[in-house]
């Protein structure tokens, strides 16, 4: 049984300019202990989808229009704020791209780390302190006692992200949602943080949803990948299969536009045009206007994500019909 089973999640923002269809019928699942990747460019809805699960969408203007998200038998989208609060931070944790804005600048690092233990597990200050020191060692911060009384601004970007990870994992959650956790970091620090996440995942046996735009990062750490575009899942597959043979023109175009897949000097493949405006209703496939393989049918009807073989699905008509 999956740990998390999201079905037809739809989140819209009702703004003065119109309805922004940020997430449109997204389905995915996470098995216990596995790492999945949600990949997409800015505006593809990957962050909104994960914030929706945790009830962190500002409402209004945001509204979850449809869908279910079963976590351990509880529907996260219907269970109400009180239940959600007890799940969030205890069974599901989240880390964000920018640890400086996610940490409270007016609270010492130690106090911030102890807070979830005192709130969710009713630990005393002393018990919490011991657990925090232990957790800091686990994320590679030595000299925990001294760092506990430090302020967030005294830490470097990499150290702050370690603190964030420690904070997210301190309640031993079953699921960690990591939204671009290494995007703001340098590559050598990124490598350290990715390694740290992988090690902690093994040791704590938790599942991870990694949200990123970086195809290299998902190739390194994820078992399965969902590719999002304009609020929809375009393709889902096991990591090796996705990179070896993408089964959606968008994924294919995305992989082809990477400089590392090109011989030096040859022009890079580009995807013409821009992602669609999510306020204007999209009749057909959202990628059709930029797709080299699109036909009339692609602009008329909207394809749905359909399984080709077990574990491999695409939302492309032409691939589904065996034309591509």
């Amino acid at each position: 049984m999956p740990l998390l089973d999201v079905h037809e999640l739809t989140t819209h923002f009702h703004t003065r300019e119109g309805v922004v269809r940020a997430v449109n019928g997204v389905s995915f699942r996470v098995e216990p202990g596995e790492t999945i990747g949600i990949v997409g460019e800015s505006g593809s809805g990957k962050t909104v989808a994960s914030l929706s699960l945790l009830g962190l969408i500002p409402a209004p203007p945001g509204r979850i229009e449809n869908g279910t998200a079963l976590f351990d038998g509880v529907d996260l989208l219907a269970c109400g704020p009180k239940t959600l609060r007890s799940i969030r931070g205890r069974a599901i944790s989240m880390i964000f791209q920018d640890p400086m804005t996610a940490l409270n600048p007016f609270m010492r690092v130690g106090d911030q780390l102890m807070e979830p233990l005192q709130v969710h597990q009713g630990l005393s200050r002393r018990e919490a302190r011991t657990r925090v020191e232990e957790m800091l060692r686990l994320v590679g911060i030595q000299d925990g006692a001294r760092n506990l009384s430090a302020w967030p601004h005294e830490f470097s970007g990499g150290m702050r992200q370690r603190v964030m990870i420690a904070m997210a994992l301190i309640t031993r959650p079953h699921l960690l949602i990591a939204d671009e956790p290494t995007t703001a970091l340098d590559v050598t620090i990124q490598a350290q943080i990715l390694e740290l996440l992988a090690r902690l995942q093994r040791e704590l046996g938790m599942a991870v949803i990694l949200i990123t735009h970086d195809l290299g990062v998902v190739a390194r750490v994820c078992r399965r990948i969902y590719v999002m575009y304009a609020g929809q899942v375009m393709e889902s597959a096991a990591t090796e299969a996705l990179f070896a043979q993408p089964r959606h023109p968008y994924t294919e175009a995305l992989l082809q536009s990477l400089p590392s897949t090109h011989v030096k000097g040859e022009p890079l493949h580009t995807i013409p045009g821009l992602p669609p405006d999510l306020i204007a209703p999209i009749a057909g496939c959202p990628f059709a206007p930029r797709c080299a393989s699109a036909t009339d049918r692609c602009t008329r009807g909207a394809p749905t994500l359909r399984e080709l073989v077990p574990g491999r699905a695409t939302a492309c008509f032409r691939v589904q019909d065996g034309e591509l």
Binding site: S156, V187, T188, G216, V217, A219, L255, S257, L268
Partner: protein
């Protein structure tokens, strides 16, 4: 050999750091750029790579005098421009342009595209009256924007389009040298490819010399003839792009290249990574000797003693490591 277009000799940019509001006292000196020598030949593209805080952006700003140099010289078109007085420097400044990472921050939100592109032309007296309109349309076409959008404001454009505007603005004065500081790192992959193609095309078309700063080595390798790697204010490796990328000699370059995630799960599972512990030291308090030695897996006690100079290790390839012969 023709004379380099840009010649940096022992360039130094040190910033004093003060503490205290009332009684200011000197805490120390940040050695952002600490003795960098680098030549860029006409028509050449040199990629400058490094992590945040290693000084590559400061170096770019020092060349165009956005920050003052505290030592060394900058030569441009055979003249030592770091010694020029302000009016004389302003006369050559049009031939020396800078493109920044975030086009939203570098474009004035209250200026239309037309205003942004017309301003440098007017300031430097390159066009007036009717001519301005024609030059602005030409520039927009050059970077792949439809001239009918010239009355729009920056916020009405996407990130990639804004970067095109910033590029057009830099090219308005027909520069010889363009310094691009992380021009694509804020962009999505598919847009990044469009901008890289644009830069490559303009380089051919206008015969530009390019100093290209980026942290993404695959991007730098794709675009550059030579790659220079910086660490804590110093050059640690310099050489032909293919050599540096495929046969890095300095331990830091090796670690950097092995840390880049490759979009290939099969290779990702098998390849060796050079694990680095810790984080770069503060440029306020750099370690003694080789700046990289506290993080270097190959470091020896003597690495802490002297700063290794760049030494030749092949055709046009140099690295600053005392264990170079064993690397």
């Amino acid at each position: 050999m023709t004379r380099p277009l840009l010649e940096l000799r022992e360039l130094r940019v040190h910033f004093p750091v003060y503490a205290g509001l009332v009684r200011r006292r000197l805490l120390g000196t940040v050695r952002a750029v600490d003795g960098v020598s680098l030549d860029v030949a006409p028509g050449e593209t040199v990629g400058l790579v490094g992590e945040s805080g290693c000084g590559e952006s400061t170096l770019a700003r020092a060349v165009v005098r956005l920050v003052p140099c505290t030592g060394g010289t900058v030569g441009f078109e055979g003249r030592e421009i770091s010694a020029l007085r302000e009016p004389a420097f302003r006369a050559i400044r049009p031939r020396l342009q800078l493109i920044f990472q975030d086009p939203y921050a570098s474009l004035n939100p209250r200026m239309t595209v037309f205003d942004a592109l017309a301003e440098p032309l007017r300031v430097h007296g390159l066009a007036d009256g009717r001519d301005v309109l024609r030059r602005v349309s030409d520039l927009m076409e050059l970077v792949g924007l439809a001239p009918r959008f010239m009355r729009k404001y920056p916020h009405e454009f996407s990130g990639g389009q804004r970067q095109r505007i910033a590029i057009a603005r830099a090219l308005a004065l027909e520069p010889k040298l363009v310094i691009a500081d992380e021009p694509v790192s804020a962009l999505d992959v598919s847009v990044q490819a469009q901008i890289l193609n644009l830069i490559a095309r303009l380089r051919e078309q206008m015969g530009l010399t390019l100093l290209f700063i980026a942290h993404d080595l695959s991007v730098v390798h794709y675009l550059s003839h030579r790659i220079a790697v910086m660490y804590l204010g110093r050059l640690v490796e310099l050489g032909p792009a293919g050599e540096v990328f495929h046969r890095p000699r300095h331990p830091y370059t090796r670690a950097l290249i092995s840390a880049i995630p490759v979009p290939d799960p099969v290779r990702e599972k098998t390849r060796q990574r050079v694990a680095l512990h810790d984080e770069p030291a503060s440029p306020l308090n750099p370690p003694s000797g080789c700046p990289f030695h506290p993080r270097c897996p190959w470091a020896q006690p003597r690495c802490a003693e002297t700063v290794p100079p760049l030494e030749s290790c092949g055709d046009g390839h140099q690295a600053a490591c005392i264990r170079l012969d064993q690397m």
